[in-house]
C-alpha cells in the first residue's frame, strides 16, 4: 500500500497531494484526482449520478488503488445499493467480506424521531470513526448528508455539526466525497459548499430538445489547476466515463503512408495511392448516391488488409448494411465473423451529441481500430445545431488523428441551407472530400464523383462517373463531347456508336488493303512477263553475237591460210600450190 501511495503522489501534479478516483476521464480533468485527505463536494440534481460517482470512488479505490473505503448512505439501504451497483459489476458483498469497503446505512425517519432540547451528532461521528478505523479506510463517501436536514428540525445544530464533521474527516486524514442535492440559490440546497472549501464538482443532467446530456464541471479546486469546462459524461454498464475534450492542440503525428479506398479507380484519382493513414475523409452526396457503399467498400478494403475497422451506423442496422452490401459483392459478414469488423449502431436521437462523442470515444478506446466509419453524420444534425455538430466533429477528428485512425464520414446533402452549412462546416476540417452529385440528363440520373479536396496529394480534378455494379464500385471516365458531358446510357450509346464506327472503319481499311494486294499481284505478273520478254530478246541478241564471233573466227582462219599459200616458202607449200594448180 505504501508503494501505491507513492505512485499516487508521484502522479499528482502541483503542491497538493491528490488521490486518483479511478473514474475514467476525471483524473485527467483534475490532473491527478481529488485532494488527498480532504473532503470534496459532489453536487447535482436528483438523478445526476451523485451516488454512482461516490460509490465508484469507493469501489475503484478499494479495487485498483488498495485504499479501503467507507460508504455511508443516508438515502439508500445497503441492500438496495448493492443491488443497484451490481449491474456495474461491483460486488459490494464480497468487498465488504474482504474488509475492503464498509457500507453503513444511516436511517433517519422523521416519524419515529422526536426532538427535545439540545443534542449533537456525536453518534454519527462515532459511527463513522468506528467504520473508518475498523477497516483502516482511506476513502469515505457520504451520500447525501443533506438528508439529515429532512429528518431533523434544528438546522442551527445541524449546520454547526456538519462543519464539525468536515473538520473531523480532515483530522481522520481520509479523502472524502460528500454528495449534495442541488437546489435553492447555491450549488446545494443547504449551502454545503460553504463548508467544503477544497474541491467542488458539479454534476448536471440537462434535457435539450428532449435529449438528455450529462455534464460534469469542476467548480473549484483550491490549490490546483484543473479543467474548467463542462465535460460530458456517460453512465453505462462500466460506470461513469468523463470525456476530457479540451486538449485541442494541433501537434499530432502525421503519416505519409496511404490506405486504399477499396476502389482502384478512385485510388488512381488520388495520386495513385489512396487516402493518407490517419486522415479524415468526408463523402457527401444527395440521397441514394452510394455514400454508404463507398464507406462499406473502404471498410471492406481495410478488413481485407487485416486491419480492424469500426463501423458506426446511425441510420441502418448492421444487418441491413450487410444485406445491402452483399448486393454489390461485398461480404461484410465474413469480416464480422473474423472480428476485423465491428458495428456500433445507435439512433442519433438515443442521446445527445456529447454522449455520442463519449460513446464513440469509448468504443474506439475499447476496440482500437485503424479505420473508423461514421455513416452518416448528417443524422446528428437532428439532435444539435450546426455549430454543435461541428464542435463535436472537431473533437472527434482531433482524437482520431491523435490515435492515427483513419476516419470516413458520410454526409447527406440536400438542397437546403442547413445541410449546405454542415458540409462546409465539416469540409474545412477534413483532409479529403469526395462529393457525389447527381447528373441528370436524357431522363435519367447518373452519379458523378468529384474529389473536392485532398490535402497533400496530387489528385485528379476530373469528374468521373460513379457506377455501382454487382461486383462492386467503379469509376468510369465520363465522355466529353461537343454536346457536353455524357453519362449513363448516353455515354453507353456514344461508346456503342463509336465502336460501330470503328468496325466499319476497320472493314474499309481491310478492303483497301485487299485491293492494294491485288494491284500488287497484277503488277508483279506484269513484271514477270516483261522479264521473260527481255530474256528472249537478250537471247536473240546473244545469238547474233555468237554467229558474228564464229564468222570472224572462220574468216580469220581462211585469210591466214591464203597468206601462207601466197608466200610458198617450203615445199610443202609449193606442193600445195602446185596441187592447187
Amino acid at each position: 500500500m505504501a508503494k501505491s501511495k507513492k505512485q499516487l503522489e508521484a502522479r499528482s501534479t502541483g503542491t497538493i497531494p491528490k488521490t486518483l478516483t479511478g473514474i475514467s476521464g476525471l483524473d485527467e480533468i483534475t490532473l491527478g484526482g481529488l485532494p488527498s485527505g480532504r473532503p470534496t463536494l459532489v453536487c447535482g440534481e436528483a438523478g445526476s449520478g451523485k451516488t454512482l460517482f461516490s460509490i465508484e470512488f469507493i469501489v475503484k479505490g478499494a479495487l485498483d488503488y488498495g485504499e479501503p473505503g467507507v460508504f455511508m448512505a443516508f438515502e439508500e439501504k445497503a441492500e438496495e445499493l448493492k443491488a443497484n451497483v451490481a449491474s456495474l459489476g461491483f460486488d459490494l458483498e464480497q468487498l465488504e467480506k474482504d474488509k475492503k469497503i464498509r457500507l453503513d446505512y444511516v436511517h433517519i425517519d422523521r416519524s419515529e424521531i422526536e426532538e427535545t432540547g439540545e443534542y449533537d451528532l456525536e453518534g454519527l461521528f462515532i459511527r463513522l470513526g468506528y467504520a473508518i478505523d475498523s477497516i483502516g479506510a482511506k476513502r469515505v463517501a457520504l451520500d447525501t448528508i443533506e438528508n439529515l436536514f429532512a429528518g431533523l428540525n434544528n438546522t442551527a445544530v445541524l449546520r454547526a455539526e456538519i462543519r464539525r464533521l468536515f473538520q473531523f474527516l480532515k483530522s481522520k486524514g481520509v479523502t472524502a466525497v460528500i454528495t449534495g442535492e442541488r437546489g435553492g440559490n447555491g450549488l446545494t440546497r443547504q449551502g454545503l459548499e460553504e463548508y467544503v472549501s477544497d474541491c467542488v464538482i458539479l454534476l448536471d443532467h440537462r434535457i435539450i430538445n428532449q435529449i438528455s446530456t450529462r455534464r460534469l464541471r469542476v467548480v473549484k479546486y483550491r490549490g490546483s489547476v484543473h479543467g474548467t469546462n463542462e465535460y460530458p459524461f456517460l453512465i453505462d454498464d462500466e460506470g461513469i466515463s468523463v470525456l476530457p475534450v479540451t486538449s485541442l492542440e494541433l501537434n499530432h503525428e502525421v503519416s505519409s503512408k496511404s490506405l486504399s479506398s477499396g476502389i482502384p479507380a478512385l485510388d488512381k484519382m488520388l495520386g495513385n495511392s489512396g487516402f493518407f493513414k490517419g486522415s479524415s475523409i468526408l463523402v457527401s452526396g444527395t440521397a441514394g448516391t452510394g455514400k454508404t457503399s463507398i464507406a462499406a467498400t473502404f471498410a471492406n478494403a481495410a478488413c481485407l488488409r487485416g486491419e480492424k475497422c469500426l463501423f458506426f451506423a446511425f441510420e441502418e442496422s448492421p444487418k441491413q448494411i450487410i444485406r445491402n452490401m452483399r448486393s454489390i459483392g461485398i461480404d461484410l459478414q465474413k469480416h464480422l465473423k473474423e472480428g476485423t469488423l465491428e458495428f456500433y449502431a445507435s439512433r442519433p436521437t438515443l442521446y445527445g451529441l456529447e454522449m455520442h462523442l463519449v460513446a464513440i470515444h469509448k468504443a474506439i478506446k475499447k476496440s482500437r481500430p485503424s479505420v473508423v466509419v461514421l455513416d452518416p453524420i448528417t443524422n446528428l444534425i437532428t439532435i444539435g445545431s450546426v455549430s454543435d455538430v461541428k464542435t463535436m466533429l472537431v473533437r472527434l477528428i482531433d482524437f482520431l488523428q491523435a490515435e492515427q485512425i483513419t476516419v470516413m464520414f458520410t454526409a447527406l446533402t440536400l438542397n437546403n441551407i442547413v445541410n449546405e452549412q454542415t458540409d462546409e462546416g465539416v469540409s474545412s476540417l477534413v483532409d479529403a472530400w469526395l462529393l457525389i452529385r447527381d447528373i441528370e440528363s436524357n431522363g435519367e440520373r447518373n452519379r458523378g464523383l468529384y474529389i473536392m479536396k485532398s490535402r497533400g496529394m496530387k489528385h485528379s480534378n476530373q469528374i468521373r462517373e460513379f457506377v455501382i455494379t454487382d461486383k462492386g464500385l467503379d469509376l468510369v471516365d465520363v465522355y466529353l463531347t461537343e454536346d457536353g458531358v455524357l453519362t449513363g446510357s448516353a455515354r453507353e450509346a456514344r461508346m456503342l456508336m463509336e465502336q460501330t464506327g470503328e468496325v466499319i472503319h476497320a472493314q474499309a481499311v481491310s478492303r483497301k488493303d485487299r485491293e492494294l494486294e491485288r494491284k500488287r499481284k497484277i503488277l508483279e505478273s506484269k513484271i514477270e512477263s516483261l522479264r521473260s520478254e527481255y530474256e528472249s530478246a537478250e537471247e536473240e541478241l546473244n545469238k547474233v553475237y555468237v554467229e558474228e564471233a564464229l564468222k570472224k573466227q572462220i574468216m580469220g582462219e581462211t585469210i591466214s591460210k591464203i597468206a601462207d599459200l601466197r608466200r610458198g616458202d617450203d615445199g610443202g607449200e609449193e606442193k600445195n600450190v602446185h596441187k592447187n594448180k
Partner: protein, 95 residues
Amino acid sequence: MGKAYELRLYVAGKTNKSVVALENLKKLCEEHLKGLYSIEVIDLLEKPQLAEGDQIFAIPTLVKKVPEPVRKIIGDLSNEEKVLVGLDIRAKIKN
C-alpha cells in the same frame, strides 16, 4: 398500560447533555412509569459498534424498543411533554 418499557439511552461520555438527559429521563419515568420500565445506558465511546444497530446518529438519543412501535427521542429530554408524546405515554394533542 401495564406494559413494560424497555428504554435505552445512548450517550457519548459524560457530557453535560448526557447527564442532563439521564436525569430528566429518570425523573420522568419515576413519575409516569413507576415500576414498569428499565433503563439501559450505552456509552458509545466504549461500544461504538452499537451505534449502527439502533441507527444512532445524534447524542443523546433515547430509544424505546418495547412496546412497539420503536421510537427515538433525541436531545436532552428537557421538554417533558414531548418526551411523553414520544414514548406514546400521552397521545399527541395536536399536530
